[in-house]
């Protein structure tokens, strides 16, 4: 192993170890924060793009102005709204 390889090997190991500890200690916390944010985002899409469900709430002119920013979320949003859920979904 050359000096450089050694170095990159150790930095990789360090990376994996910090990730592992982060995964044990904080990942769940960060994920919960993002989950909360995500469900609020879906609420936001619902009220701004309410027209998607035939409920005009925001004037359509302004709703179109926001549309470009939510394009990536629209399909996952619809999927999540329509997906059947049961108790085992609530576990994680």
């Amino acid at each position: 192993m050359s000096e450089q390889e050694k170095q990159s090997f150790f930095s990789k190991v360090r990376h994996v170890v910090t990730d592992f500890i982060y995964g044990m200690a904080s990942h769940e916390m960060a994920r919960q924060a993002l989950k909360t944010r995500g469900s609020m985002e879906h609420l936001f899409i619902l009220i701004t793009m309410g027209d998607l469900l035939g409920v005009p709430i925001l004037p359509p002119y302004y709703s179109l102005r926001l549309l470009p920013y939510v394009v990536p979320q629209v399909s996952t949003w619809k999927r999540r709204m329509l997906r059947e859920k049961d108790l085992t979904d609530a576990l994680a």
């Binding site: 990730d19 592992f20 995964g23 990942h27 996952t76 108790l87 576990l91």
Partner: protein, 588 residues
Amino acid sequence: MALVMLLVSIVLVFLGYQYYSKKIDQDVLQADAKRATPAKLYNDGVDFMPASASVLFGYQFKSIAALGPIVGPIVAAQYGWLPAIVWIFLGVLFFGWVQDYGSAMLAMRNDGMTLGGLSYRYISPRARGLLLTFLYIYLLLIMGAFGALIAPILAKPIAPIGFIILVLAGILAGQMTYRWKVDLMITTVVTVLIALIGIYIGTTAPAQNIVGWINGLGPDSFIHRPLGYGDMSWANFFWAIVMLLFCYLGSVLPIWEFAQPVNYTSFWFVLLGLFGSMLGIVVAAFTGSVNTSFELPAWITAYQPHLGPIWPILFVTIACGAVSGWHSLVSTSGTARQLEKETDALPVAGGAMYMEGVLATLSTIFAATFAVSGGFYDPEKGYKLMKGAGGVFVYGMAKFMNVLHFPMDLGKAIGIIFLVVMALTVMQLVLRFMRVASAELLGDKMPAFKNPHFGTIVAELLTLLIIVFGFWQWIWVLFGGSNQVFAGIALLLLSIWLASEGRSYNWAFIPGMLMYVTTLAALLYVSVYNALWKGIVQSWGQGSPGFLVGNLISAAFGLYMVVAATILLVDGLKAFGKAKAGQLATGD
């Protein structure tokens, strides 16, 4: 001997991973790094969110490692350490990782569905309902088994003050992170230091006196339970209530304010205990400062009178250290929705299970090394476990940390914190889930269950009933049984899916059936032979009402689970037959 055992487990884990697990992953399921996973495909920022393999490995390990792998082997060691360790190795290598990894792949290849939906799709429509009620009982047994174990440990004078300060430090951590927006590093250092000082203060004489005073407020025989169950003391009862109060707060308060930051701060003590004692074993082996030869015989008996025959009881007592249904819940509901590559499933779900096997080995080492000198197993009575299984672990951890010059009392306090935290982390989650479950299952008929406080209190009262009237070793066997049946169901589900895809399935089907037969036998042994026959029929008129209640609980839970699991098995085998013939209609 301790070091040898630890090394053997690590080598076996390596070999199993390298030569068995990898082969299945590549040849049978053909994990493909290029195939889009649900986390990537449906990344909705709520249920589906990708994360890296090393992060998820930590997440999965923390989610699956609770009291099971720690307490299970200590209970099982009453048959001798050898059968215990053999089952841990066999379990991990041929059952455990198969289930954890297989269910993650199953969920991933089915659009991130969870077990409820999967059982509906692959077994039968009624399977989903059965599974969910089964789950409620399973969760209740987790609460009961962990609670009954933790309460007496918490009652030891050296622990509670430190634990309370730790909780307060955790609450502080929550405020620092969420309200005051302090950098996480600073928050961690400050709160962990406060907690450490708190744990130290807890071990000092004045603190112990306070706890001693509380413990002395009531009688030793606070709740009378004759016929070998052992009476419940006021102290145990009091700390059981404190523990339930903690779970209550964790379940109803916003998770930011209580459950998460408290778990976060306590986590560092779990890490400290784990690495401290492992390092202690290594150092002790070389310096000889602690006698690490095993005191417990390798083989004790095939029939422990107060537990039952080695088959099937040993196989369910070890619980999560060998194979556990809990893990399939974590794999499907949590991890499968976060894996960013299919090829990450094996290192994450499989890897975490192998690591859990090492943890179970560590626990067996503690039991075997300090069994007699620590006063835990009584050779006169056939190595019957005299004190709670938690005590063995705490003592072992403190002894090995003492090798590194950690004061014995502080080591014990950390060992207690370790156990308490591991149990309570899961208990809070379980309680939260039970509350949601009762709201959904019963909320329409009984609107009161829609109130979160009501659902939580009902679950807690049921838990208290088990803690007070259940004989904890039986509760442990019931818990282990339900846990293992759940694993059997997950493996069955996995086999049906494998068959329906035309892949080879015996690597999942055979362990699944072995698990099913063993656990049904264990559940029947406890509920019918022990509770119904010995506890109720034979002792009719001799026991107190409490004794009767305890046995009725065992019998009812055990029998319900046997019936539910059998129906699931029948439906599952039918579906499996169809799947093999390529006729399974997966109703979507």
